[in-house]
């Protein structure tokens, strides 16, 4: 009895959290609804508000503090090391996408940057004209023809969808560093890597998020559209040639990468 009651309440809540479908007699409204692909919009907007509050209270101040305290060359070195550590995941996804050329580039960069680049601190390969790229399992699934599913806004992680969320989990599980060694030192190193990744990603996003938050009449709608466009560009491997400071390849916050300099 109690179970059915709970079920009914859940069903009601879920129904209440769905966006209203437009009048089917208005084909343009239906087309727009389908293009937005956001049936959970009311719930997503609540998540966005939660995310925004956490971000303004914790993540953004941490990122600004990091930018203030750590000089730019050191931040760049940290970004290089983090990107180099992500090589196994990128390589695996290059291969799963059947892209031998990009897999070869990933492997070559790893060997050069880990040795001549002193454990990945310097991006020697980029200076040689071989810039890096990122891949994740969400992109691999897209290449395999898996649809993205409905738009989701996840507090702390940011804009996403079921495909990309699942991809993030697979990438985490596939990362050999997740399982490497044990003990206090290894734990400390893993926490350091995670912590640095979070501040590094958020620091790179300052230039993106601040103008949208200040300038957009509806930041949620802007982020939703920007995320989808960035992801589609990444899936087609149309990443910017140089200065890709917007993407640290951690999987977190990716696709926020809209720079918005002119709007």
């Amino acid at each position: 009895m109690r179970f059915t009651h709970a079920l009914a309440v859940t069903a009601l809540l879920t129904l209440g959290a769905c966006a209203t479908r437009p009048d089917p007699s208005d084909p343009e409204a239906v087309a727009e609804y389908e293009q937005n692909n956001d049936p959970l919009e009311p719930a997503n907007r609540v998540s966005y508000a939660v995310h925004d509050a956490i971000d303004q209270a914790v993540l953004e101040p941490a990122a600004r503090g990091y930018r203030y305290v750590v000089p730019e060359p050191v931040r760049l070195s940290i970004r290089n090391v983090l990107a180099n550590l992500r090589t196994p995941v990128v390589l695996l996804n290059d291969l799963l996408q059947g892209d031998g050329e990009r897999a070869r580039i990933t492997l070559g960069r790893f060997m050069v940057n880990s040795t001549l680049g002193i454990a990945g601190i310097l991006d020697v390969s980029e200076d040689w004209g071989v810039p890096g790229h990122f891949e994740d399992f969400g992109q691999t699934l897209a290449v395999w023809g898996v649809g993205e599913g409905p738009f989701l806004f996840v507090p702390i992680l940011g804009p996403s969808n079921p495909r990309d969320l699942f991809g993030t989990a697979v990438d985490f599980a596939a990362d050999p560093l997740t399982y490497f060694g044990q003990g206090v030192v290894v734990d400390a190193l893993n926490y350091t890597r995670t912590g640095l990744t979070v501040v590094d990603v958020r620091e790179a996003l300052i230039a993106t998020v601040t103008p949208v938050r200040e300038g957009s009449m509806d930041p949620y709608a802007t982020f939703r559209s920007g995320y989808r466009q960035r992801r589609n560009a990444a899936i087609r491997n149309q990443e910017p040639q140089r200065g890709q400071g917007q993407n640290t390849g951690s999987g977190v916050g990716r696709g926020f990468g809209l720079t918005v300099p002119l709007r």
Partner: protein, 210 residues
């Protein structure tokens, strides 16, 4: 990207092009588009880096360059999409006027950030019969360079910018999403968007005054 999604996006863009941009659009020569971006970009950078005159005079000079280079009416109509036809004639006029001011104020509110800006034109690709994508790289002192792509089409016999793509994100599509969301969340009223646009301009003007 799945084919379906690509078709949807292309279809949406195509629909927008047909309904929004004046039928005067014709085939464009990539070399002409590149030369146009080079010259418009040079003019813009010169105005951004010149500190002569008052803030209003500088804004007017930048505005003149932008109005020459951008197809403000076509882009504005594309962004308003299906709501263009729902709007009254007076609303359409007011919308285009506000849209023009937002484009200009967005740049003039950030003059400080653009001191010392430089740009280099990269490759040019023919995207369709009607438009060409010119890639540029923008460098500012003390910040990471970024890629900015310009979609150029022939409008009324002149090459004009019809979209700006920053790191893979089309301003035209992002703004369309933003504007339509504002209208939808305010009972489908175009007038609500116009009010929000006026507020946005006031905010940008206040920022410029700082």
């Amino acid at each position: 990207m799945t084919t379906l999604r690509r078709n949807l996006v292309l279809g949406a863009a195509g629909l927008g092009l047909c309904t929004a941009i004046s039928p005067a659009q014709a085939e464009i020569d990539p070399a002409r588009a590149t030369a146009f971006i080079e010259s418009a970009g040079r003019d813009l950078v010169a105005q951004l880096n010149s500190t002569a005159g008052t803030a209003t005079q500088r804004r007017e000079r930048v505005a003149a360059v932008l109005r020459r280079a951008i197809d403000i009416e076509g882009t504005g109509r594309f962004i308003l999409g299906r709501y263009w036809r729902q709007a009254s004639e007076a609303e359409q006029r007011q919308y285009l006027q506000l849209f023009d001011e937002i484009i200009i104020r967005n740049l003039s509110a950030r003059f400080g950030e653009y001191q010392g800006v430089r740009f280099t034109v990269g490759r040019t690709q023919q995207r369709s019969e009607e438009d060409v994508l010119v890639t540029t790289q923008v460098d500012r002192p003390n910040s990471a360079s970024f890629a900015l792509d310009w979609r150029v089409a022939e409008v009324g016999g002149q090459p004009k910018v019809v979209d700006v793509i920053a790191e893979g994100t089309s301003m035209r599509l992002t703004t369309r999403s933003e504007y339509s969301s504002v209208i939808q969340r305010n009972g489908g009223q175009v007038s609500a968007l116009l009010t929000a646009m006026q507020q946005q301009i006031a905010q940008l003007a206040a920022r410029e005054g700082r």
